[in-house]
């Protein structure tokens, strides 16, 4: 089973992006689609500020301060998020469920944080890869990338 990723440029770097639908239980369940990039350097899976605005996610709870690209940002916990990734055959999906996903928000009145939060895409982190035993293949030279169950 392979999940194809699209290798495309994001802020001067080529990154592998997935195609994923999300279901988020809030007061009214949110359904939507996101295009997160797979980042083995991120310990957590996070939803970007742009995607949070687009999906109208309401954040609550105590945020954790994390650093993205050297800038401090806030990551709010979002519980029991369901993700479905399009598989190679384009006829099936790979179902995933994460107990906690972060939602990125800037620190108010902090210029560097506002810039960083606004320019960071959603991320599939190492937590999801480990939970579902997915290996990343990333051939940047030929722009071929996919996730594969191991």
């Amino acid at each position: 089973m392979k999940i194809p990723l699209i290798v495309r440029t994001y802020a001067e770097g080529k990154k592998p992006f997935a195609t994923v639908s999300v279901k988020i239980p809030q007061s009214k369940t949110i359904y939507g689609r996101i295009s997160p990039f797979v980042d083995t350097g991120s310990p957590w899976t996070v939803i970007s500020k742009t995607d949070a605005d687009r999906l109208r996610i309401v954040v609550s709870g105590t945020p954790r301060t994390v650093y993205l690209g050297g800038a401090p940002i806030l990551s709010y916990p979002l519980r029991n998020v369901t993700l479905k990734a399009l598989c190679e055959d384009k006829k099936s999906v790979f179902n995933m469920s994460m107990p906690i996903v972060g939602v990125i928000q800037p620190i108010p009145n902090h210029d560097q944080s506002i810039r960083s939060a606004g320019s960071t895409p959603s991320i599939i982190g190492a937590d999801l890869l480990e939970r579902y035993r997915l290996a990343l293949y990333f051939d940047i030279c030929n722009e071929i990338s996919y996730l594969e169950k191991v």
């Binding site: 991120s42 742009t50 687009r54």
Partner: protein
């Protein structure tokens, strides 16, 4: 997953492929702006994400199903 949901995921993947192929041209035209892509076309663009979302709603489109991306300037490097 229903056939509709599958088709919507395939549409998003096609729009992501379009963004990949057209990235340099799109960046020349819409640098420092958010662009919304549907059916391999830029349907809304603006530097303010809230205005992009408002314009999509005016077009009776659900932003949750549309690829929106910020186009960084060429000298902007993001090391994550």
């Amino acid at each position: 997953m229903t056939k509709n949901e599958l088709e919507e995921l395939i549409e998003l993947q096609n729009d992501s492929e379009f963004l990949k192929k057209s990235y340099n041209d799109l960046r020349k035209r819409y640098v420092n702006q958010y662009i919304a892509i549907k059916d391999k076309d830029v349907i809304v663009h603006h530097k303010d994400i809230n205005i992009v979302l408002k314009k999509l709603k005016e077009k009776r489109l659900n932003p949750a199903n549309i690829l929106i991306e910020f186009l960084h300037p060429k000298d902007m490097v993001l090391i994550l």
